[in-house]
Symmetry: C2
Subunit: 312 residues, 2 copies
């Protein structure tokens, strides 16, 4: 597939992920213009400094004007609101500027595709789908949810990487309302950044990430939190690896965990059952049971050790 080219990509929120998208787009020359939109001037300046954006602005209307792709990269609690704001400022066809080589009809057909990078999907997609059905929603602005399984515990554009998405999985979550052409376009976008794309329903997505991301985050935090101060100095690489994600931003993760609360609680139940098996084997000094549990865990871990590259 040839790489898609965009006239202008607007990135709302230039943190680690937003900046990495900009850097990835620019490295691969996928867009003539990459606009970064943010609230804080310092972040915008940093995003410009690392080459993530060609223009940086705190003005959403200005930032998304003329964009054919908008990627909302804010924390999960702000995604719905920002997508709605994007739709609102694009209302009235501001995406087609005077002097554009495209006709208005072309612009309408392609429309402005909006996606996000939120770690939860069900509630975000439900609320945006509802808003899209409203008569005030501009017909040429259409949303499809994305979640790139990439990034790390660091924050800010200065930790961004043009290859953050290479070989990583991006889950997209189109619903029944999505146009096939839009699904193709969002998929093509992530493929162009080097990612592998998987399609799930928003509900399936949230169950999967509860098990492989949100619950492990909660556990890594509990392990770090339970380590006595007098012993933590004796920790080696095992403790450091096991607790690495506990270094993530508490406010961001509080949002994610609460947004996906029911699924995380379900995953927690599954974990607790397994944990109870380990506890019982140790309490009973049952060598056979303990070794069997360790071997089963090793088998699952080893089978999936190589499918993702390590952090950029």
């Amino acid at each position: 597939m040839p790489s898609p080219t965009y006239k202008k990509i607007a990135i709302v929120g230039v943190g680690l992920i937003g900046a990495s998208i900009g850097m990835a787009v620019r490295k691969r020359r996928l867009a003539k213009e990459v606009a970064g939109i943010g609230r804080r001037a310092a972040s915008l300046a940093a995003a410009k400094k690392v080459g993530a954006v060609t223009v940086a602005t705190t003005n959403l209307a200005k930032g998304v004007d003329g964009a054919d792709l908008v990627v909302v990269c804010t924390p999960v609690d702000g995604i719905v609101e920002h997508v709605q704001a994007v739709a609102s400022v694009l209302q009235g066809g501001t995406s087609v500027r005077e002097g554009s080589t495209r006709s208005r009809r072309e612009a309408y057909e392609c429309g402005v595709l909006v996606t996000d990078v939120g770690s939860t999907k069900a509630e975000i997609v439900r609320q945006i789908d509802m808003a899209q059905r409203d008569s005030t929603w501009p017909a040429n602005v259409r949303f499809i949810g994305s979640h790139p399984i990439a990034g790390n515990e660091k924050r800010g554009p200065k930790h961004g990487s043009a290859d953050l998405f290479v070989e990583r999985t991006v889950i997209i979550t189109p619903t029944g309302d999505a146009k096939r052409e839009d699904v193709r376009r969002v998929k093509q976008f992530w493929l162009a950044l080097g990612a592998k794309v998987v399609t799930l329903s928003p509900a399936e997505h949230d169950m999967a990430v509860a098990a492989v991301s949100h619950l492990p985050h909660l556990l890594a935090s509990a392990i770090a939190g339970a380590t006595p101060a007098r012993y933590v100095g004796f920790s080696g690489s095992g403790w450091l690896d096991t607790t690495r994600i506990a270094s993530g931003d508490p406010a961001l993760w509080r949002q994610i965990l609460l947004a996906n609360r029911n699924n995380v609680l379900d995953a927690l139940k599954t974990f607790d059952e397994q944990w109870n098996e380990f506890r019982k084997a140790l309490e009973a000094a049952d060598a056979t049971a303990l070794e069997r549990l360790l071997a089963q865990a090793k088998q699952i871990r080893d089978a999936h050790a190589g499918h993702q590259a390590t952090d950029a």
Copy 2:
């Protein structure tokens, strides 16, 4: 301090740690001869191939003959037995060979220092201390326990590294029976390999590693074991890091966990209390409590992020 030099270092068990010690010793030219003793010819050949040993043998008596330092690097369940076997074959002064430039008296004064690399210490040291007090124990063979907090989930000499111990902590656990000169020698040995050395009592050691190593291992295994097969393909680097140590050898870890069972059960109780706080905050959708718990965990994790280098 000048690097100590040894006539001959014997390494009993040439797995990842044993081979790394040999490679580290040879790289730093700390001994004229490094003998590797093992049961399996294939491991011995691999240890020789990576340059970990100058001679390799399945014969313990031959391997330790003439050694002034013996490092027992077998799995924890075999350490006491191997140290006793070393003492037994060294009985009768086989460490002083015909034609040696040392007098018998010098050899007696320096003696043969024996140490180990076991992940648990209390029971191993207790049993060896008891054996050392027996009249049949050769007076020139003396044991001091060590535990280098290094290594990874891999196995075998081919994954060894001459710099595995650089900047890593080695805990030594001398007891009241230890001679000051022997403590100095074992400390000097690890310092010469680039490690930092900390002295703890065997009991303190076992409590510390229960909290920072053995319990995290059990939890990493439970997290891996509880991950549903249908979702594991969506895991990212977070899951991979959190579960990395679950890839360790089940038989080795079953030994370690059972050898340190009481301390691990105590650490498990502390974790369960913390885990219950996280569970309650999530169940109650208590954003304030959840963010506070995440922030406390992050603080502990971040304060200790840089004190150890990552795996070699």
